[in-house]
Subunit: 348 residues, 4 copies
């Protein structure tokens, strides 16, 4: 009953198998192997973007930081949501990679609105060269609160960016889950919606540790390649990154695992929603839900071995009926039986 | 017949197996899993350094850059050999991580001597605050030219560092090969020789992609941890780094693979040395040799599928008897049969 | 009738004279001259801080950025007010100097409150090493909105900092005006209130271009000295910085010019406050006021040659009676006649 | 008898007077004043470069660092002479501004040769993306050893740069002295010789503290402007920088002071050259000479109040007849009488 994060689950067997299969003899290092070339083509095909350039790295923070640094000058500021991962969870990695650029937090509880984005952009460059200059927009879907931007919402944001001639980065650590949720195509959610550069996640969705930076405009690809090397993120035995991504993309495994995670989450949400003693506080769209449960419930669940984060308050002591919020994340590998056991325990 | 680099070979089967075994259920991310704790203890035991702190990363450049940044202020300069990997092969990653510190190249064809090091150190800080300030010494063993510092040579270097109260970093991307060559203990080659911080390589010696930064003085361990995160090198599914390192350290697999590579190289060196038309230009001590062979020989070898770097000149065209230098690297996985075939082809 | 900024006024005659007097023969460069030594002592005496260390630079942004970089690690965040100069008006200079640290904006219209500061601090480091780590507090007095922290308010802020063992920086670009406003001593407003490092401004208050960074704890003075050089802010003909500061401190010229500016502002505020068609929107404490006046009034003033910033809206066209906000800054050199003329024009 | 440096002399009276004259009333800050506009035009006229853009800063290190950062990516390396000021005397400021780029030292005792430059350039980018990428060439004239590049030598260097499509920076902290030495035009020594961006010094040649960065190709001027602000080098009371530069350029004062310094140095060199106990070790071309004198001579000179640097050995104790090298720099303000007294003392 593990709902703490989707980065704690196992690697999908097909991906493990791909690693084993790639482990034959010698392969040219640093991405100069055949498997890597194949992965680039797979991504171009998947995103219907024949001109796209692709660089693989091992962490989502590296993907985001490299993408932003390539599109943001050090004297600029990135526009992102208040609770963006790049702001709250990357220990200043974007600022490090960008050489000291700033993040401007567009006020929101979760998703950015186009209006709020426009207001934030208008708020910068009002002081000539004294303030930070306007830089890229960074959007995250699935958001930190489990929401998915509709294509309309996304297009509204990128339209604002275009008004100011600002580039758009999409943090898609959970892009697969978002695509599964909307049922759209990868192209629709990215470059057709106005995205210039994408962090396309694999790690949270069944891979061991691989993320792709996808440049829909290849102009800055060589710069990003040099930035990757300079950031110590060019793997020498690169074939093992490519093997993961290759298997992930083959037969749409990425979509299957994302659907599995979303379905698991749906089952959990429905089950919890039916319980009188539980309140779900977000609208579950992908694989993350937020639920308020009583301290007694939390204690019962933890005692039975459930793992997840209680976001506020100490669930180990205090009034049994006090409601405390929790975040529950489903990965692809959790079973219906585990979910049902969790529900049964939550019911009490 | 692959002699281009030891970062192009396969992962050792025991390490692949360890990855498969680690792939069960959930594990806390970011190094908060049991396997990672075990690896820390294994390294402490291996290096007889109970107080040491350990951080795993995926590339040698990351290990070096984090180690140096933790010990070097941005207004200082690192003393290293002319052909150090940190200078020639890391695309300014150390400078990036260190915030713009400098590298001072201690003149040498290969190994630094204590005298040359002292002269270089004396050459800095002669101009008060105008020049760069003296920073750490960075030593590499096995060197880029295939040499191994004797313990006496190493102690002489660190004694100079101590005279100036400067810390010592050891780039041990091939430390296993160096230890195998000398037959000393890991402790003797590191902290007992005056090393403060170590990059301990796994990737070139049978792992998929894992290097350990070992701080023998744990004081700055938390700083390094934060630097690792900020550099986007904290893996979320960290257990897969730890699984590699765990298997690598179990039953001294690291030493076995290093010995295998060195033995292979020895066989190759002896064989080439016996050929009248080949001149070996370094003293092979570990798993790298440099050999001069005629263009015709290079052509014959390449035509037969041998892979290695010809370091100067175009081996594909020109006078057949012109001698051209080559670098030949043996990894643990090459077979005696492959070596013998190479030798037979080289003989002509 | 120049009220645009206090950085546009002339240099005080005594300071110009000091520059002329310093212009005799040779003087050792880089601060190794007698005048610089004297200035250090003057500042120690003025602040009753015999152990303090002093470094002169030419801009307030340099003073702030060096001070913050010396007290903030790149993986930390600085706590400052929403509209702090270091955030809005320094084009990412603090981030550049700090190597990519972040600024956390403590929500406020102007002055930070101790409660809001505490909440902001509590909001960081809730995510272990994933988020930015807590760094220094940076307080500005006189604030960007013309307010002065009382000693009680200042002590409350630094008490919060002390609770979290965080250092305190005071941006005192207009410290002289703040001290003149409160009538306290320089020591009371700084280290006796818990300030660790100070930017002490001269430029806006009658100097040509000189600011002092004052370290009340001298431990990091050499680091700051190296940072100053590395930032290209160590003047070779340093005596001309020292000459300014020397004259500025002699016979409390700094206090006289600050009092003059405050008095001028007081006269302006009182005059405007008496006008029925003007609303003063801040509580003028030092040399900055904010006033709402009709578009017609703005047009009349500008037509007569008055210079100041209208903060929102276009004063050149639109409804004559629409009220538009303006910022009015008085420097030491403005005359009562100029103020009275402005008032007369404002009255209409 | 001050020969320690040309950055220790007084400000030329005409420049002091210009500062006084500029000190009238208000002027828009940050370079938005009439005097600054005039200075830009003066420089365009002086260099016969109507399209050039100009930015003033207070130190030569700032000028160099901003110029290089604007033309060098962080993953590149700058080619400069072994003893370039940017390498030896700026405490890593260029590396800081460039975000961690490297300097490649072209081997030389003093001036770079085109051949050595070409060899150094060829030595980089031999390792694909693993090593630093080729960046700008930085040439200094007058050199640190007092030499001046002939126009032919300069053209040969920039021709090499052009072969590799690399930009050229000229560190002209003493450009005036170099131009005075050659008798050429400013245009001939800069853009007509292939220079893209120039640090044009004022401080060492009679100004208080002002250097101009001149972009002959204005494309990156706005970037440099933002970099200047971000580096805290945009002076608010900018008119006082402009006033210096305005006077410096008026009636070719810059050339007069440079000629005076060169003439003084010539007198000194000729006088010392005539002495049997002194050996001049460079070919004096501008305002710097290097001379070997006995310890007894050094002691006699210092005892009489002469100030200059003895470059090696301790002149205060040891064998009286041991020869020790000294650097002697003449600024514009030294008098013939002072030089003659120095010569008389040197003669003994």
């Amino acid at each position: 009953m593990f709902f703490a994060s989707d980065n704690a689950g196992p690697v999908h067997p097909k991906i493990m198998q791909a690693l084993t299969e790639a482990n034959q003899g010698y392969a040219m290092p640093y991405g100069n192997d055949a498997l890597t070339a194949q992965v680039r083509d797979q991504i171009r095909t998947l995103f219907q973007a024949p001109q796209a350039e692709v660089h693989l790295v091992t962490t989502g923070t590296a993907a985001n930081s490299l993408a932003l640094a390539t599109y943001c000058q050090p004297w600029q500021t990135v526009f992102c949501a208040t609770h963006a991962h790049i702001h709250e969870d990357e220990c200043n990695a974007p600022e490090f990679y960008m050489g000291g650029a700033k993040l401007t937090l567009v006020p929101t509880d979760d998703k950015m609105t186009a209006d709020a984005l426009r207001t934030s952009i208008e708020g910068e460059e009002t002081r000539g060269l004294h303030g930070p200059q306007r830089g890229p927009i960074s959007v995250t879907t699935v958001t930190e609160r489990g929401a998915v931007y509709s294509l309309t919402e996304l297009a509204a944001l990128t339209a604002v960016a275009r008004d100011y001639k600002l580039p758009v980065h999409l943090d898609g650590a959970r892009l697969a889950n978002a695509i599964a949720a909307l049922g759209c195509s990868p192209a629709e959610m990215t470059w057709q919606s106005g995205v210039d550069i994408l962090s396309f996640g694999g790690t949270k969705n069944g891979c061991m540790g691989v993320e792709a930076v996808v440049l829909f405009d290849p102009t800055k690809s060589w710069e990003l390649e040099l930035r990757r090397k300079r950031a110590a993120h060019l793997m020498s035995k690169h074939r093992y990154l490519s093997a993961q991504m290759n298997a992930y993309l083959t037969d749409n495994l990425w979509l299957q695992t994302a659907r599995a995670a979303n379905t698991n989450c749906s089952r959990l949400a429905k089950g919890l929603g039916d319980l009188p003693n539980v309140t779900i506080s977000n609208k579950p769209q992908a694989n993350i839900i937020f639920a308020d449960m009583s301290r007694a419930t939390h204690q019962r669940l933890h005692a039975a071995g459930a793992e997840y984060y209680v976001l506020a308050g100490d669930h180990t002591k205090g009034a049994p009926d006090e409601m405390l919020p929790a975040r529950l994340v489903c990965d692809w590998s959790i079973t219906a039986a585990q979910i049902d056991r969790f529900l049964s325990l939550a019911k009490g």
